[in-house]
Symmetry: C2
Subunit: 251 residues, 2 copies
């Protein structure tokens, strides 16, 4: 008997992308070179950075005028003032700015520096998160489905820190073709009792599943195919993961 | 060319365990029935609940005397008083008790109800988390290595909620034979610059990787083998994931 297996398959050899590059074309070429086919039920996890780059979410350091507010926060904490400035521009709320810079960004996601990053960015440039990651996922999915004729799903991932626990993990910031959550309410447990509630953030788990292959350094594996995962479908997307302000116990 | 792949393989048919059952023996029988062999580099992810049960961390509802403090919290929130009582006994600190019951448990982990759970517990019983999950992982690993002669690692997982983001995900509460983190400091990024810091909680990612197969209902897959993941070794374990109180920005 073949055991039930979920596999994460690394697509390799995607070149360094630049604004305007056709991401889906590059993914399909890489699929081809890797010697696999995209097939019904595959989930394509894509690192936000490569999406940001093709969407031209890059900012040159020399183009950034640092505000007084950013200077104050940067000086107090020993942060890069340009990095702080961009984080402030990208956010709708500063959650904490003492020793850390934790913000809620425009899509509502709470993270360090509004997700603005310098690593894996071209020299003297900063990478902002995609403007609307769910929309990006939707666009990529539509093109992938059109090209392959297969039923697929797309998750856009980002590596983020979190409260309470040290170390970052990959989480999902957008998705299409897959529901954000897997709802177990109504299912029976081991002892035949009905679960009253239990929602798993399945796209966060798929993002985490892809990270070991993607890595954080120069691995050049920004796209990972998840195969064999029986996911729940639905209309909840990345934006639905964010706890509404009035339900959030930590602001 | 075979693409780089990380696979999560479900071990099936582990029977409902009870206190005193020999977990490692059951895992090895299941490995055998599944038709695979444990092999060098495999990470065995084990749901905390099955570990708790074999360690007799079960409490009968009829054995619990509910304190005044637990009664007050239960009445205010409409919670089960016995559940609250056990959560209070298991914790070292109550973080919040309005609408939620978030505590820091004895191993320092911050979670709902100190991780005390009713689902997948025998009728009228509650399951507490393993007393020392790192120690449990160590014991299981030693026995597995002795029996198989392979170089393996063990991660004990639990499904937990988190601040900011809706839905639960699987996280690691203990490990052995694998480092809790993967440290990327000093590695080069895509553009040749050295990463100043970047630590990934690799055991949390491996726990998340196992959840899609384990499920939360009656799947009866409490053990998942991760194959093909090139993990970092070291002495950091589950307890090192917990942010020390004075570094935690959310208490």
């Amino acid at each position: 008997m073949t055991p039930k297996t979920v596999s994460a398959i690394a697509l390799s050899l995607i070149p360094i992308v630049k604004p305007g590059d056709r991401l889906v074309e590059m993914i399909l070429e890489s699929v081809n070179e890797t010697g696999i086919d995209l097939t019904n039920g595959d989930v394509i996890v894509i690192a936000s950075k490569i999406v940001s780059k093709t969407e031209d979410r890059l900012v040159k350091a020399s183009d950034v005028k640092v505000s007084k507010r950013a200077t104050v926060i940067a000086e107090k904490n020993g942060f890069d003032p340009i990095h702080v400035e961009l984080a402030l521009r990208e956010c709708v709320e500063v959650i904490r700015s003492d020793g850390v810079l934790i913000t809620a960004n425009q899509s509502g996601s709470v993270c360090n520096f509004s997700g603005v990053d310098k690593s894996n960015a071209p020299n003297a440039e900063y990478v902002l998160l995609p403007k609307d990651p769910d929309q990006s996922a939707k666009g990529i999915l539509e093109e992938l489905v059109r090209e392959t004729g297969q039923k697929l799903a797309v998750v856009i991932s980002d590596t983020q820190g979190r409260p309470w626990r040290k170390g970052s993990i990959n989480v999902a910031i957008g998705c299409a073709g897959i529901n954000a959550f897997k709802h177990n309410k109504g299912k029976s447990d081991l002892h035949g009792r009905t679960l009253k509630r239990s929602s798993i953030c399945q796209i966060d788990e798929l993002a985490a599943l892809a990270e070991p292959l993607m890595g954080q350094a120069g691995e050049r594996i920004p796209v990972v195919i998840i195969r064999g995962y029986e996911y729940e479908e639905g209309n909840e997307t990345g934006v639905n993961i964010i706890r509404p302000r009035d339900e959030d116990m930590f602001r």
